[in-house]
Symmetry: C2
Subunit: 135 residues, 2 copies
DNA sequence: TGCAAATGTTTGACATACCTAACTCCAAAT
DNA sequence: ATTTGGAGTTAGGTATGTCAAACATTTGCA
């Protein structure tokens, strides 16, 4: 058995775990309260505003996050698409883990959180279809 | 909906992606040829011996890897346990993705590789049981 | 035995992704 | 107008993980 040369693809991920959660925070904050500033995101993620500022700058650089003249942050079309995909994946994963595999809700949430930004669209789709076929 | 404070647990992982693959390489190489040196591991992972040397030093520091007087590397009891757990997880994941979800083998391998070191024992176990119950 | 090839380590440079702490900037209240 | 506090950035530090290149060591063979 050969160690597959797939292993390095890990680095080529679209988004990091941290990055994903910044996007999700923006989406949730804007949905809940209508806006998201650096501070709001930092509070939501329980990190310092310094970290949030730096992290968000890089997301802006990637064209996933936008900032208006009043420093309100929002997701770009691409960012929104990505965030929604991740949320969908998390939902699917949690449902799958708890309903199908009967994993405890706590562990399901942790596992989903760790893998939600890594799983391919194909696998997520198939997982969805599987759940649907059982319902 | 609140962003769960679970998200930071990502950093508290037992092992990194890269670290995991170094362990797996040692296990596979020793199984296949009876030994694993820095060079062998570097070749197997397609990184320079410099990188391998540094990375392995840190794994030695964590007590996962040992070195004998001839510079042959091996896994400690703990390292072996960890490596075997990861391999088992990968096997389970691939089987699950391809057999149950009918994901393509290529994508299954990539997804398994990305998550094999992140999934909890509980979820892996449940996944195993699920496969068994269907067989 | 002696030299060349293989092996391994270290160093210095980069890139990413975090953090904290210190600083700037601005706006509102007194 | 001055102070105070909220908001945000920057600077400096840690940790990983990668590389190339200089160096040391070991091995093996001619």
């Amino acid at each position: 058995m050969e160690t597959p040369d797939v292993w390095k693809e890990f680095s080529g991920n679209v988004i990091t775990h941290s990055g994903a959660h910044h996007l999700l925070a923006i989406l949730e904050l804007t949905n809940e309260r209508g806006y998201a500033r650096v501070t709001d995101i930092a509070r939501s993620l329980e990190i310092t505003t310094g970290s949030a500022s730096t992290n968000l700058k890089s997301l802006k650089g990637k064209g996933l996050v936008q900032e208006d003249e009043n420093r309100f942050l929002s997701l770009s079309a691409e960012g929104r698409k990505l965030a929604e995909a991740i949320i969908k994946r998390r939902t699917t994963l949690i449902k799958f883990f708890t309903k199908v595999l009967e994993v405890s809700p706590e562990q399901a949430e942790i596992d989903a959180c760790k893998t939600e930004h890594l799983l391919s669209p194909e696998t997520t789709l198939k997982m969805d279809q599987f759940i649907a076929s059982k319902a």
